[in-house]
Symmetry: C2
Subunit: 471 residues, 2 copies
């Protein structure tokens, strides 16, 4: 890219917000797990929707490729430029534009972090429910572009379910102002959902109108031990019936996962006296008094125990105890790195198929590598399992990781056979771009290409992500 063209882009945002020095660019180019390292002629940090629009106008005029970036926390390389793309970081656009507690809505800039939006809701005694490990740094624009999930999906849905309206800059620089805060609006095609989950390939989200919720008056958290995923599923069905939408968490983890946490995370302790094969983290959040909610959950768990669905259970008696239970689940991703290489799968299947998926995917992996350690965990209630596989102790890490594609192939094959998805919540990015045409219905893939050509005919927005475009 010519220095003159870079100067023209830089002039839009001002020299202080056009980073050309590799040292200044570094934090935008390093992917946090070290899987990718990006390159770009310039990082632009626009301060307004109008500046984003002028950047895309100039890109459109000059055929310049653009990679939009939020908090740079994505797990599939969607935010990483390959070399000749201008990187547009939304991080300076972090205004809370308006909050309407009576109507339970909030309008924010795309560059606000998830934590900042949660806090803005909290400030008016409301809840913005999306919750992720990276919430302190991930941004709402990125959450929208990737249809982020996390630990509150069961009751509140993914980001897609939380958005009422969008402001988007299109590939040619036009601004679509769709910042509505309506609960119902049947006036034509729903464009909002086209941009949510499109990973920056159809437009750059610059603002969003989001749903807020009443803050739960009580949260009751329990750890339980269950004989099997099938029993866990039966318990899930029971709790869906009694707690309904107040069942906000239903996570599963295997004994080996708990072992990893207990071994590597300071201050953790086993919630039960004896070891069990499978554990559940359960939370009910509602508008009723805590004592009432706790009694109800305890009664349900006691009933499940009677029926043999549970082997043990403990309902947290304090916020500290609840936090300790949550920590067992939340540390699981992190501590795996202490056990050597880990091959990851972010898979979903129909909820009722989770037990079968766990069994068959486990067999498929063990057939490939008998000593592999299976650490599947995650959002059982959403049918979304992070099917992680840790290397056998003592095996060469690089040799283990060289099996990544082959193992993926097997696990994805089982998911596909059960009507599942190869990316439940992390997206496609560049990591799974080549896999996508092989798992998608061909007509659906053609439709996606047609939509891409319509909204970004020059293929300038986040090239090399999601789709394989014919060059």
């Amino acid at each position: 890219m010519s220095p003159e063209l870079i100067d023209r882009f830089a002039a839009i945002v001002g020299p202080a917000n056009a980073l050309r020095d590799p040292a200044d660019q570094e934090r935008y180019l390093v992917e946090w797990r070290g899987l990718w390292h990006g390159e770009t002629p310039v990082v632009l940090r626009p301060g307004s929707t109008a500046e984003v629009a002028r950047i895309l106008e100039l890109a459109h005029e000059t055929g310049t490729r653009i990679v939009p970036q939020g908090g740079n926390t994505g797990l599939v390389g969607g935010q990483v430029p390959a070399g000749d793309e201008v990187l547009v970081s939304l991080g300076r656009m972090k205004r809370i534009r308006s909050v309407d507690p009576a109507g339970d809505t909030i309008i924010v800039d795309a560059g606000a972090t998830l934590s900042e939006v949660q806090q803005a809701a909290e400030d008016v005694d409301r809840l913005f429910p999306l919750s992720l490990a990276s919430e302190g740094s991930c941004q709402i624009g990125g959450n929208l572009a990737t249809n982020a999930g996390g630990t509150a999906v069961l009751a509140y849905g993914t980001m897609r379910d939380l958005v009422l309206g969008l402001e988007v800059v299109l590939a040619d620089g036009r601004i679509w102002n769709g910042l509505r805060t309506l609960r119902k609006d049947n006036t034509g095609y729903d464009l909002r959902h086209l941009f949510v989950g499109s990973e920056g390939t159809l437009g750059i989200v610059t603002g969003a109108a989001l749903k807020l919720f009443p803050k739960p008056r009580s949260r009751v958290t329990a750890m339980a031990a269950t004989p099997s995923p099938a029993d866990a599923l039966r318990l899930f069905s029971v709790l869906r019936g009694t707690a309904g939408g107040t069942l906000t968490t239903f996570e599963i983890l295997p004994r080996i996962g708990l072992d990893f946490v207990l071994r590597h995370a300071a201050g953790t302790r086993d919630p039960f006296g004896a070891p069990h094969d499978w554990y559940l983290l359960i939370e009910v959040s509602s508008g009723v008094e805590e004592a009432t909610a706790r009694d109800a959950l305890e009664a349900d768990l006691a009933g499940a125990f009677e029926e043999g669905l549970l082997l043990d259970a403990v309902v947290a008696r304090s916020g500290n105890q609840a936090s300790a239970f949550w920590r067992l689940r939340e540390m699981l991703s992190e501590v795996q790195s202490h056990e050597g290489g880990s091959i990851k799968h972010d898979v979903s299947v129909p909820v009722a198929k989770v037990p079968e998926f766990l069994a068959r995917a486990g067999e498929a992996v063990i057939e490939l590598l008998p000593e592999a350690r299976l650490v599947p965990f995650g959002h059982l209630g959403d049918g979304n399992i992070h099917f992680n596989v840790s290397q056998p102790p003592g095996m060469d890490k690089a040799r283990f990781l060289s099996m990544w594609d082959e193992m993926n192939e097997r696990v994805h094959g089982v998911a596909a056979a059960l009507g599942g998805s190869i990316s439940a919540e992390h997206g496609i990015g560049q990591l799974k771009r080549r896999l996508l045409p092989r798992v998608k219905d061909p007509v659906e893939y053609e439709l996606m290409l047609a939509i891409k050509r319509t909204l970004d005919p020059q293929g300038l927005l986040n090239p090399g992500k999601v789709l394989e475009l014919k060059e």
Copy 2:
């Protein structure tokens, strides 16, 4: 259309399912309120997705225009052919393809009626929550095409929120099989939401994978009298906090609406001894015991009474009493016809703006016609008001109805000024097609046109509906 071409279409579905006789066609062409009367050379009644695909292939090849139709219950003329379009009725495709009670999903043909799908859910002790006045005849395909709303939106969302996957025949006859039953799936663009609410202009939905829910163990229904919509809104906020997602109904109706019902609907009676300005129908549906749920609602209503938000309230003590309360709300649309002409608006505004909308829209109408009788009612919790206006007693009905456009203009103007929508749940169809470009963001309208050209380049699907295409 040539008899030879009609024969070719008829051959696809068989002669018994190709209706050419006007008498046979009548039920597909008469709009139930008599606003439109359609014309078509032939009504086709395909029996399978493959037949729908062959119809659209032939239409694509011959440039034949197509109007898809479900239960013919739409309110905006979206299902009515203008003369040269082949009408494709989905009503023979009514299979329940599969039900998964453990995973809370169901897959159905598009021609199944809403009641049939509700029943199939009931048969496995589950709830399909969408509920509309026309549920006995409206079809799932039509519900999807119009993103149907109804009386359960507050807790369960509109049809858009209830769909997991779709099967759609595209304008050229290709079949998109997107019948997934996954709760989470981030593998590319969400095409599902493009077809939901597109009113048959982008493709013909032939099958759908839908969400099911646990059947509530208890439903508690109350009628309440409130001093004003602003007080009603405050009560709504209180109940959202305590009942959360178990608050399944929060409907408002004015005294005059209750008067109309009491006057014209047999067997109805005033729930209170004294008249009040505004009434609320409130329902809480949950997994807790009925006595517990009733106590909780009664406590909330007593608190609201203390604070002056309510003037009176009664919680139903039996199913019959609950049905009687529901009847007061449900009869409201129907009985209006006994009071002469009625000019209708299906408007939404941000929830917190409902009181202001009611006041300003009322003023705008009264300014135009001081003796007009305002009968605004509906889904306060969704911000969706059916702002109906009944003619002054004794006025000439035709003269009153001649003010339709002018009154619409005023009411829609108030809604637009408050960030609202001119069609909250009924859609655009032909009724509001010419209004749409005037209220939509121009960029959004251009995007809609671009999507239409991409998916239906010949403009064959439901022509003259939703969008104004350049011919």
